[in-house]
């Protein structure tokens, strides 16, 4: 027993020598260059990162951590969602009762429900911001085009997850949002029972809506269907695309590759951890202060007035006011999604990768404007589209009251307000002319034709030709709007309308400010009024023509750069986007319902 008294080693050192410890942790955790790498390599989760990244690429002001936060919120939603599932039974008799139970009788039940709801809202915001960030830093450009497409798919699935989750509380809010959403499926072309050009064998009992809600009315079959989609099916597919997304981020590399490199552990990992902590804190406070909405139990006989979708769908709901459901609910969303996916393939401008879009001042006429210098068309169009979407969301949220009537923000809503909105169709021939002239605005003047023109008629000829073409088209559009409104008979007179002409019908209504102003002019000033209207038409035509001329240079350049196919795709999408604004203005200012209408085919534009 004369062994030397060794100093007793600390307990952790002993533990670290055990086989068990070593089987789990393959390296030690002192901070050395080697372990920094081992931490990333040796951990399946951290392995999503590269070992070293450019210092610039992880600056907060560059990424804002939005991609990572989207994923973190997805994890929060998964965890809170799984917890909520323990108390939730997806049947129409019990679902609403279970919501009440969560609120009133389950420890932290209401809190978890709040958190699930607000995290979902936050995730939509963060995903959209992530997308805007990726766009503005050019991170979708080659070689990352395909990952942008995957990102668009993930965005769509985020929205679909929100939509399916919306039904589960089985309250009025849920029922009516889903009723409206499902009805859009019934309006899809070919496969919807109420859509245009439906196939001969399609009925309410086998169309797209039937497949979505599992019956002809929303009931238990719909609830279980949405429950499975929300909790299992969509998250499953979502995870699949998420894996592809991450894998591609790793393989394609970050968009910013230049500059000094730093170790991901601890520089990036610590930032991610801090960002997650911040978002957790925000979610906790949010869920403490604000209760998730729960209205009266679902009741098909009473639609709440007004009945609003969740905010991220309100842009779509507002769009549905101006267009036929199959356009607003099916065609436009499809075009938006396809347009977003096609973007990296048609935007061949190599500039702007790895830094925020460069802005500069530029003068348009006398007005100085802040302008994206390197990628003017791409940035302007994308931001205009995004802005438009949020303007529509704003209108839907703050400017729509009972019976979906227009109220200014802050104005008191009233269920007693009297309105008689008069909306009239423009005769089809005029409408076709209007749309034809509008889309003809997309015609470019190719270099070859310009050259020939200057050879034939002097150096000023190409500019003159462009001017004539745009002025002509602008004037045609103005005439195609005003002439039918001023002269066409009201097709609904005398059965549904008191006025024999469109001019009188719209002029006497309260919802077509431009037409009623013209009507008053004519009433009060007679021939002088008509003269002023004539001036107005000329001015409108000139304005539209001027806008066309402003675009001419850009169009011609785009055409030369991109070639016919890409050019048609770009200009078609662009004109459609601006056309949506135009149609909204036609509705709000002129009281025009459709410019082209074939009721027998459910085809109205």
């Amino acid at each position: 027993m004369a062994e030397p008294q060794l100093p007793k080693p600390p307990l952790m050192t002993l533990v670290k020598k055990t086989k068990l410890w070593k089987s789990i942790f393959r390296h030690d955790f002192t901070d050395t260059p080697k372990t920094r790498i081992q931490r990333i390599f040796g951990n399946v989760f951290l392995h999503l990162h590269p070992v070293r990244v450019s210092k610039e690429a992880i600056r907060v002001s560059y990424t804002w951590g939005l991609g990572g936060l989207s994923f973190y919120l997805f994890l929060v939603l998964t965890v809170t969602g799984i917890l909520l599932m323990f108390y939730y039974r997806p049947t129409s008799l019990l679902a609403y009762q279970d919501m009440k139970d969560l609120t009133f009788a389950v420890t932290l039940g209401g809190f978890l429900r709040n958190m699930h709801r607000w995290a979902a809202h936050l995730m939509v915001v963060v995903v959209i911001l992530h997308m805007v960030r990726v766009f503005l830093t050019g991170a979708y450009k080659p070689p990352r085009e395909y990952n942008w497409v995957v990102g668009v798919i993930l965005l769509v699935m985020t929205l679909f997850l929100s939509y399916t989750g919306y039904l589960l509380p089985w309250d009025q809010l849920a029922l009516w949002a889903v009723t409206v959403g499902a009805q859009m499926a019934a309006n899809s072309p070919l496969l919807g029972n109420e859509g245009p050009f439906k196939l001969p064998f399609i009925t309410t009992a086998n169309d797209a809506r039937f497949g979505l809600i599992g019956g002809t009315v929303i009931n238990d079959a719909t609830l279980i269907r949405f429950y499975v989609l929300h909790c299992v099916a969509v998250p499953f597919i979502f995870t699949f695309f998420l894996m592809v997304h991450f894998w591609r981020v790793r393989k394609d590399g970050f968009s910013k590759q230049t500059g000094e490199k730093v170790d991901v552990w601890p520089h990036l990992v610590s930032r991610e951890f801090l960002a997650a902590l911040l978002v957790t804190l925000i979610l906790f406070v949010w869920s403490l202060v604000l209760q998730a909405p729960l209205e009266a139990q679902a009741n098909l006989n009473v639609t709440p007035n007004p009945s609003k979708a969740p905010w991220y769908f309100l842009g779509l709901q507002e769009l549905l006011v101006y267009f036929d459901p199959w356009i607003a609910g099916v065609v436009l969303p499809t075009i938006i999604v396809i347009g977003l996916m096609a973007m990296p393939y048609v935007d061949t401008n190599p500039k702007g990768v790895g830094y925020w879009a460069k802005m500069g001042w530029r003068k348009v006429g006398p007005v100085p404007i802040w302008y994206p210098v390197e990628r003017p068309f791409a940035v302007n169009v994308f931001m205009l589209g995004t802005l438009m979407w949020f303007v529509l969301i704003f209108i839907g949220t703050y400017c729509r009251g009972p019976n979906w009537e227009w109220y200014w923000p802050g104005e008191l809503w009233s269920h007693r307000r009297l309105t008689k909105m008069t909306l009239k169709n423009i005769p089809n021939l005029w409408g076709a002319l209007l749309m034809g002239a509008y889309f003809a605005l997309g015609t470019p003047l190719p270099q070859a034709i310009k050259a020939r023109l200057s050879r034939l008629a002097g150096p000023k000829a190409p500019r003159l030709a462009s001017l004539l073409m745009h002025a002509g088209l602008g004037m045609t559009m103005a005439l195609a709007i005003f002439i039918p409104i001023l002269t066409a008979p009201d097709a609904e007179y005398p059965v549904r309308s008191n006025s024999p002409t469109l001019f009188e019908a719209l002029g006497r209504s309260t919802n077509a400010p431009v037409v009623s102003a013209m009507y008053r002019l004519v009433q009060e000033a007679g021939a002088g009024g008509y003269a002023m209207i004539g001036v107005m038409i000329l001015a409108t035509g000139a304005l539209l023509g001027w806008l066309g001329v402003q675009l001419a240079k850009l169009k011609d350049r785009l055409f030369e750069q991109k070639g016919l196919i890409k050019y048609s795709l770009i200009i078609g999408l662009f004109l459609m986007m601006m056309g949506v604004i135009g149609k909204i203005l036609l509705r709000l200012l002129f009281g025009v319902k459709y410019v082209f209408s074939l009721p027998a085919f459910n085809f109205n534009i």
């Binding site: 610590s270 911040l278 009266a296 007693r416």
Partner: protein, 402 residues
Amino acid sequence: MKRVLFLLLTAALALVFLVTIAQDRHRGWVKYQRQFLGTLKGAERRGIARGVHQTIVQGLDRVDRCTTCHLAATKPQLGLAEQPFTAHPGQYLQWHPVEKFGCTVCHGGQGLATEVKAAHGEVPHWEEPLLRGPLVQASCRQCHGEVSTIQEHAPLLVQGQQLFTAKGCYGCHAVHNFGQTVSVDLSEVGAKSHQLIEADFEMMPGPHNRIHWLRRKLAHPRVLNPGVPPEALPRGEEEVFPSSMPFFGLEMADIEALSVYLLSLKAEDLPASYVRPPHTPPEPTYASAVTRGRAVYEHYGCTACHGIGGVGGRRNPNNGLAEEAPSLLYVKAYYGDHVEALKQVIRQGRQPAPRADPHRPNPPLYMPAWKERLSEEDLEALIAYLFALSDRLPAAAVGDLL
């Protein structure tokens, strides 16, 4: 910098977590339970479990948690003087055992809730407000369809039902297929969705629920629906008629009784074991044609427009007619020699005169047709009564008004 941020964030998160737990622990009912248990001792105290109490009523698909706070409701020996700890008064719980009936089927409110306001249904999006005080009588009719059998326990309900007939409400409103359809069917007015009366709510002070709406409507029908006169209309809009419901000048007590009766009008699908079978009252006998005619006059609700005893005087906005529903005291003078013509008027009613402009709506009040509702004998008796009215013209007009 990062370390400071880390510390701040984690500290804040820990704090918020504590607040979350504290908020969850301090629910409304905890305070009441502690307060009540403080008044008890020994076995009594041990006999009351802590936590959420609930009664599961299988037959009615209801779960009521009212007894979480109303701890003495089913234990009369423990009852205190003030709410929420009073014992349930009367023998009602012996007749209606809590296990079979629960609480909310009679008292309304939100059985699943454990916060005071939510449980009493005084929150948005819960459309069953607590039926306070005598209003609870409105629930009796769900099972006791024949309310006269529970007269002593539900006096207001019985009075309300009698008033409904006496004031002639059936002349315009139908209830379960009896009564005219000049105005809305009232068979389910006791469960009318708040979302359908939002427009009326805008014309009255809160609280905005069905109970107050009914009281208001009965007291001042036209205040809730004043209509919009043509001169106040926006351009191109159609005239909106005010409510055509007459002003009955009801007393507060009458309003309360009628409210109770109207609140009782709802079609809840209760299991057969809960429902008391109705018994058909014997066919009434009348001394003469005139008494029978008077009964017909009152039973079918002619009083609403033509007044008690046919004195007339209700406002009638119908275009082309006089502005008042005509008095019936002169019926004999007009139709004495033309009984068939009078029968024809009663059978056909007086439809609103067509408007000059077909796009304008018709005013909502008119005399409905009675041909399918009155038997020939009833019609004869009614006419005998109407003729008798003019016989005693000078006295009747004054006497019946009072």
